[in-house]
Amino acid sequence: MLAGEIIKHNKTGSLSEEQADNIRRVILPYPTEIWQATVQERSNLFPAAYNTLKAAIIGFLSAIGIGLGLAILLSSSKALKRSLYPWILVIQTIPIIILAPIIAIWLKQGAHSVAVVSFLISFFPIVANTTMGLTSTDKNLLELFAVSKASMLQEILFLRFPYALPHFLSGVKIAAVLAPIGAIAGDIFVGTSAGGQGGIGFLAILYKGDVNTPALYACAALACLMGFLFVGLVNYVQWLLLHNWHESSLDGEA
């Protein structure tokens, strides 16, 4: 559509083909141009990607840990759920663009705050899904455990956890998509250049200022790659844990 619009203006206006192509490159570079920019800018891109990856991994792992903890807490008592859940929802519903300055004020800008944004953006799906999984355990299986005189701990360990596992993992998968996004958004809002801590988001602002659109797209491609990497990893773990028994992982088998 963009390229078409440029051609349209080229017809009616008096843009030369070269000018139109220059504009095209600034708006929508060819994949080859993006690849060239990636190679050219690799000494900036890869350290930045590494910083973002680090923040995303920290955010993601905290989201799993804290998300799981919160889910266990929430599913353990109705009263707790009623009093705690709205607050978790509050954190999730505040757009990061508004939350970011608050984080910057509390925690100061820096790599740690970037990880916090990544965490904040990604932990909710884990809490919601896991809580759902922990509280929707098959009633018949619960009775089986009751007849078997299972203790509370046994019930959680041997029944509720495995039963919630598919739910938990689908929450983790959403978090896997969100964590790198959070790390990049965090980079833009609460990041820092100190000690080469700038990430992809930081770099993207610089490329935007430089009107280096191919490099900007390279940032986007790296961000995508990171998301794919995270999701791929979660998919693999999911397959390992579920392929024997859960419908979601029974692929093409009779």
């Binding site: 018949n140 005189k149 028994w245």
Partner: protein
């Protein structure tokens, strides 16, 4: 095998949920060790509720439920329930499912494995021991469910329409196998079923219940001794009992309609 003292006594037992009408009313029954009691009756006669009360999953509203002469105050180790559905853990292999009650009782792994191996063989699943539930047929799943219940060697086994969802051939096979297992590993059985044939083939006594509220309408003795084989199923005695039970059941249905 039969002892004189009763293992389970139900005295004027009633059950109601909330303020509704009684689901069960004035149930009186004495069961001796080693008996096989079947409950038959129209839908809503409370036979499953009765089983759940015995299992301790639901409370007694009125009257008394005594096991070994005492009201059970906490869940008993020597009693186990086989559910309507196989109710297996989908993430656990057959062997692990069979081991589950022992695991929950904290028995050591070596004991668990030895017992599970024996029981898996007893129910004829030795070739499927490492499969997951989704890889099993309905009949096989139910065998696992029974094996699981037997793994703790219960004195009392409650079976809540365990074979209701199976086809007739599989059901007959499992009936015969259940009796064979019971020869080797005796237990007192309470068996809920919709099938009169099944009740006659398996039981020492058949308790016919009427509904609204659930009361004992009739008790039919099945004097034929164990072991029972296919020949019993083809004897005039069997057909006579079948006819008697069906008639009794039909009367209950007629009255309630």
């Amino acid at each position: 095998m039969v002892e004189e003292n009763a293992i389970v006594q139900l005295k004027k037992l009633s059950k109601r949920f909330d303020q509704d009408q009684d689901v069960l009313s004035d149930i009186d029954l004495e069961v001796k060790e080693g008996e096989f009691i079947s409950f038959v009756g129209p839908s809503g006669c409370g036979k499953s509720t009765l089983l759940r009360m015995l299992a301790g999953l639901t409370s007694v509203s009125e009257g008394a439920l005594l096991i070994d002469g005492a009201t059970p105050t906490e869940p008993r180790d020597d009693l186990y329930l086989v559910f309507q559905e196989a109710n297996l853990l989908p993430w656990a292999r057959v062997r692990e499912n069979v081991e589950l009650p022992m695991k929950l009782q904290g028995k050591p792994k070596i004991t668990r494995q030895a017992v599970a191996d024996a029981i898996v063989e007893l129910v004829g699943l030795q070739d499927a021991a490492d499969r997951f539930p989704r890889q099993l047929s309905g009949g096989m799943k139910m065998r696992v469910s029974i094996a699981r219940a037997l793994s703790v060697s219960p004195r009392i086994l409650l079976l809540d329409e365990p074979f209701g969802a199976l086809d007739a051939i599989t059901r007959n096979q499992l009936n015969e196998d259940l009796l064979k297992i019971r020869e080797k590993d005796p237990f007192t059985a309470f068996f809920v079923t919709h099938s009169v044939a099944e009740a006659v083939f398996l039981s020492t006594r058949i308790v016919v219940l009427e509904s609204n509220p659930g009361r004992i309408a009739d008790i039919i003795d099945v004097p034929h001794s164990y072991p029972r084989t296919v020949e019993f199923r083809e004897s005039p005695e069997y057909f006579d009992l079948l006819a008697r039970t069906s008639k009794s059941l039909r009367q209950q249905k007629g009255e309630s309609e």
